[in-house]
């Protein structure tokens, strides 16, 4: 699913450059626990989270996660957004809660990261 479509489904705002909306994602993972992101996520995944600290960006960088949706209307600081841009990570923010955001994307065909 293209990030552009995800932005529309979640009525989200893009916090990074619009050209990143052409990113294509295969799976999604919703979590506020970065420890679990580091343990379970596979490549080319969309991360949905309510955490907005710089470690979310660092975690994404390490995992080759190139797109993050912040839920519950959360918005990271300018320095965190700069860190994401420097690493080519697209950031969206939506007013939806995590449950609803995941539900809406699932309804449109996006599936969760397979857990072995």
């Amino acid at each position: 699913m293209k990030l552009r479509e995800i932005k529309e489904i979640l009525n989200a705002e893009c916090l990074t450059d619009d050209d990143c909306l052409d990113h294509e994602v295969d799976f999604a993972f919703g979590s506020d626990l970065m420890s679990d992101v580091l343990a379970f996520v596979d490549e080319n995944t969309l991360l949905l989270t309510g955490l907005v600290n710089p470690q979310v960006i660092r975690t994404a960088e390490m995992m080759d996660i190139n797109q993050i949706v912040f839920v519950r209307g959360k918005r990271p600081s300018d320095s965190t957004i700069r860190l994401a841009k420097a690493n080519g990570i697209a950031l969206l923010t939506t007013k939806e809660i995590l449950f609803m955001a995941c539900g809406k994307l699932y309804e449109k065909g996006l599936r969760g990261v397979p857990i072995v």
Binding site: D32, L33, M34, S35, D36, V37, L38, A39, E43, T49, L51, N53, P54, Q55, V56, R58, T59, E61, M62, M63, D64, N87
Partner: protein
């Protein structure tokens, strides 16, 4: 492991410094990419480095991380100045954590760190003396 060293870097990691935590791992990832190592290996090494770095920030009074790249393996190791792990077997158990509230607010402290490092490593060793410090070595084979 061969004696030849392709690249070697040392990093000092400070206790509780969540603002720059991850920058050493970010550097390690860039170095491994520049050396042209395969993506799955770079990813595993990045996870190991980041988990180790976060552990130093959260659980220790500070310490050092070391990267050594050889033609046939990548070695990432850490050494800290304490406080050491009271029960290493327990610390290696998924879900067991002694992380404080600050670490948990950052999204860590699920008790997945050390098991995840071992899972991503081809060779893993840990030595800890409670009251003194911990030494961890992780090796990934190339090819």
């Amino acid at each position: 492991m061969t004696e030849e060293i392709v690249a070697s870097f040392d990093y000092q990691i400070e206790k509780d410094d969540f603002k720059i935590a991850g920058s050493a791992s970010s550097h390690i990832k860039k170095i491994l990419k520049q050396l042209g190592l395969p993506n799955p290996l770079v990813r595993r090494a990045s996870i190991i480095a980041y988990e180790l770095e976060i552990n130093l920030v959260i659980h220790t009074v500070g310490g050092a991380m070391h990267l050594e790249v050889h033609p046939n393996c990548v070695v990432i190791s850490t050494e800290d100045m304490g406080p050491g792990i009271e029960d290493v077997d327990q610390a290696m158990t998924e879900g067991y954590s002694t992380a404080n509230d600050t670490a948990r607010e950052m999204g860590f402290g699920a008790g997945m760190g050390l098991p995840n490092i071992r899972r991503c490593s081809d060779e893993f060793s840990i030595r800890s003396t409670f009251g003194t410090g911990t030494w961890i070595r992780s090796e990934i084979h190339v090819g």
